[in-house]
């Protein structure tokens, strides 16, 4: 063995160590963040602020789920409202028609959404780039129209969740927001952990390879079609779980309030704003975006002059111009260059 190749091996081992140390740090950060958020609602008693916490955590989870397909696998879907709607309608219909617990409905909705994602993925993943995105928009709009015309699911009138006993089994809590905050926090944590796990798994590497250069990935043995299908199913599953949660939280759904195009945008926006294809991007984006939407609407929206929307739009534009790679750019340290020997080795 030459000294040079020993140098490469050492360099790679060092990089590997550093990578795993960074991953452990990420995990520690998560623990701290989750602890802080768990304590927060005990200090902040205002239900309006608690409501914003629920929404922020919910959109963190939803955007994190979207990020699996859109960020890591690079398949930009603007039709994820379809999975959100499937989740919301599955648990609500099961609950109102058959008295099935929303927890089971959540899992069922997730499963159905994952199946739908696979069925849709079969033709759609033959499309590339913008054509794929357009197809996702179209199919979500079609779902909206279908649900509007489906009397069993309440049609345009929607479904009001009947007030059942306030407990965990029914996922209803009257005025109490704390259980919703913790459920949403659990959802956000689980999606984060899944993403974290994926980052260092075979799928994770395949997905990023598919995103960066599909042709090169394929030449190295990555099965592109299967990669996309797996990412889509996983992403759809968690978005649908979020949809069931939303239905329980609002206690009323109609096609326009769960299948509307603006939801598809709201899943993508936090990830894009915070840092697409990153672990903390969706959370960061949601923490900025959701309170901003709520506060501007509540405290400037009453004028009827759209001031809230102007502020909201201007801030998004500012961030996009200032940090096009996302807000995560403020936090990420530039990686130190690898030892010289490894560098030379890599180039020779």
């Amino acid at each position: 063995m030459s000294t040079q190749s020993i140098g490469i091996a050492a360099g790679l081992a060092q990089a590997n160590d550093r990578f795993h140390a960074a991953r452990r740090r990420q995990l520690m950060t998560l623990v701290v963040v989750v602890l802080v958020i768990s304590v927060l609602p005990l200090l902040v008693k205002d239900v309006y602020l608690q409501n914003i916490m629920v929404l922020t955590l919910m959109y963190t989870a939803l955007s994190q789920s979207w990020n699996i397909l859109g960020g890591y696998c690079g398949q930009i879907s603007l039709g994820h409202a379809i999975y959100f709607g499937i989740g919301a309608y599955t648990s609500t219909l099961l609950f109102t028609k058959f008295g099935v617990s929303p927890w089971f409905g959540m899992a069922a909705g997730g499963g159905i959404a994952a199946l739908v994602a696979l069925v849709l993925g079969y033709p759609f993943f033959r499309l590339k780039g913008h054509y794929f995105t357009i197809a996702t928009i179209v199919v979500a709009e079609a779902a909206l129209v279908l649900f509007l015309s489906w009397p069993y699911a309440g049609g345009a009138l929607g479904i009001q969740l009947p007030a059942a006993a306030d407990n965990w089994a029914n996922l209803q809590f009257g005025r109490n927001k704390l259980p919703f905050i913790y459920t949403a926090l659990a959802l956000a944590t689980i999606t984060w952990l899944v993403t974290w796990k994926i980052e260092d798994s075979r799928w994770g590497y395949w997905w990023r390879a598919v995103k960066d250069n599909p042709e090169a990935a394929e030449s190295l043995g990555v099965v592109i079609f299967n990669s996309k299908m797996a990412a889509a199913a996983l992403s759809a599953f968690f978005v649908a779980v979020g949809g069931s949660f939303y239905a329980q939280f609002v206690a009323y759904i109609d096609p326009d309030s769960v299948l509307n195009f603006h939801f598809s945008l709201l899943f993508a926006l936090p990830a894009v704003l915070g840092g697409i294809g990153t672990l903390w991007g969706p959370a960061l984006g949601a923490i900025i975006l959701i309170p901003l939407t709520e506060f501007t609407r509540s405290y400037a929206g009453g004028s009827g002059q759209g001031i809230d929307l102007i502020i909201y739009g201007a801030l998004i534009m500012l961030i996009a111009l200032w940090k096009p790679e996302g807000l995560i750019g403020f936090f990420v340290r530039q990686p130190k260059p690898l030892p010289a020997s490894a560098d030379e080795g890599a180039h020779s």
Binding site: Y48, G155, V250, A251, D254
Partner: protein, 420 residues
């Protein structure tokens, strides 16, 4: 506050500043006892923003009537403020729901817990009213539905839901009562054609119309549901044209209504008669755009300005509203204005700003029709919170303005039939 004070300030100015700060922190607390806060949740941005802005003008006009020293023979219309609460003034807190049920719910919660509003008025969209009223029920604060027309709202067993105006089924009954009358006069009114959008409004409206038409022996010549905000209605209008019903009954919002009329004109289809479920066909902007093609159109309404001839107070209220908004009162704004007056009257009688007390007072409401600006016989709520005495009227667009043609007790002109 103290941080921003310049270091060279002497002690006296500092004390002065402190005193002012103290005074300003005390005044709101004192003022609060003289104010009754009422929340108003409407769409103030998005596609229906104009409705919300008009609602704001209507409610502010109503607040003027309550707070100012007028001598109107209306609920809460005499004297300044609410006598039952020592002359307390009504103050409105507006919130925007952006037509999103989730946001409506969150805003209701905020107004109740942060602003401590005594009651909430809303909300134009029935889907949003569903979540607002579920929230107000939980907090035991009355929700006064000003202009939601879905009949499902008062069928949920809510104790804190009240609606003084008619819902779609009551409107539909009035429309068919009118058709029955025309039949008795010997006009040929055998078939109706439904044309409705696919959201909650069009669905509720067409369901009621379909049932009533069948129950009263009208032939359903055509029944078209179209996608709201559709870019083209050509195929739909062709269907209407070939079926050519004796009466066309559209349930459409403004932009769809304009597109419908334009498309009918382009395709040369002249319906024999139109009896519309208000909405877009009550909006000034629709008549500004295509009014010339609609001479003889009939629309149901909650309000008729013609009534001002019999009840001068309506004219005065309309002038006050017009000074604010530049428009006459219409179907929506009249209901919004009236809602706040009825609510204020109940708070006045309750002598309290507590939800349960206001609820009790609302349940005991008994206001004769002459004391409103509406063509109603009276305001009294049933167990479900619905006022069943909110008689609608039918208006016909003749020579560039609306005249009341039905019922006969309110009519000032004979209907032009058929319109084309």
């Amino acid at each position: 506050m103290t941080k921003s004070i310049h270091p060279t300030l002497n002690r006296r100015t500092l004390l002065g500043a402190g005193a002012i700060a103290l005074a300003s922190s005390v005044t709101p607390a004192l003022a609060q006892q003289k104010e009754v806060l009422i929340g108003a949740i409407f769409p103030l941005s998005g596609a229906s923003a104009q409705v919300g802005v008009d609602a704001k003008h209507a409610l502010e006009t109503a607040a003027d009537i309550i707070n100012g020293n007028y001598n109107f023979d209306l609920p809460a219309g005499k004297g300044g403020g609410l006598a039952g609460l020592g002359g307390a003034k009504v103050k409105l807190v507006f919130a925007d729901h952006q037509a999103d049920p989730q946001k409506g719910r969150a805003e209701a919660e905020r107004l109740i817990t942060q602003d401590k509003v005594a009651a909430i008025v809303g909300s134009f969209h029935s889907a949003v009213a569903a979540t607002i009223s579920a929230t107000t029920e939980r907090y035991q604060v009355p929700y006064f539905s000003a202009d939601n027309s879905s009949p499902s709202l008062n069928r949920r067993g809510l104790k804190y839901f009240f609606r003084a105006a008619a819902h779609d089924e009551m409107f539909t009954v009035a429309m068919f009562d009118f058709l029955d009358t025309m039949r008795k006069r010997g006009e040929k009114v055998n078939s109706v054609g439904l044309f409705h959008e696919d959201t909650i409004f069009g669905t509720d409206s067409s369901n009621a119309q379909r049932d009533t038409a069948q129950a009263r022996g009208y032939n359903l010549a055509v029944d078209i549901k179209y996608r709201a905000n559709s870019p083209s209605l050509t195929a739909e209008v062709q269907q209407l044209s070939s079926a050519n019903p004796d009466v066309l009954m559209p349930s459409s919002y403004t932009t769809d209504g304009i597109l419908l009329v334009k498309t009918m004109s382009e395709l040369g289809y002249k319906p024999k008669a139109i009896v519309a479920q208000a909405a877009g066909f009550a909006e000034k902007s629709l008549f500004d755009a295509v009014g010339d093609k609609l001479d003889g159109l009939i629309s149901r309404a909650s309000f008729s300005l013609d009534l001002a001839q019999k009840r001068p107070v309506i004219g005065k209220v309309n002038e006050m509203f017009k000074a604010r908004s530049g428009k006459d009162l219409n179907d929506n704004t009249s209901r919004q204005l009236m809602a706040l007056l009825i609510l204020a009257d109940a708070i006045d009688r309750a002598k309290s700003v507590e939800g349960p007390a206001i609820r009790e007072a609302l349940a005991k409401t008994d206001i004769p029709g002459e004391k409103t600006i509406m063509p109603w016989t009276k305001v009294a709520f049933g167990e479900d919170g619905q006022n069943m005495n909110a008689n609608p009227v039918l208006l016909q667009y003749l020579g560039g303005k609306f005249v009341t043609i039905f019922p006969e007790s309110a009519a000032i002109a004979k209907p032009k039939w058929p319109m084309n």
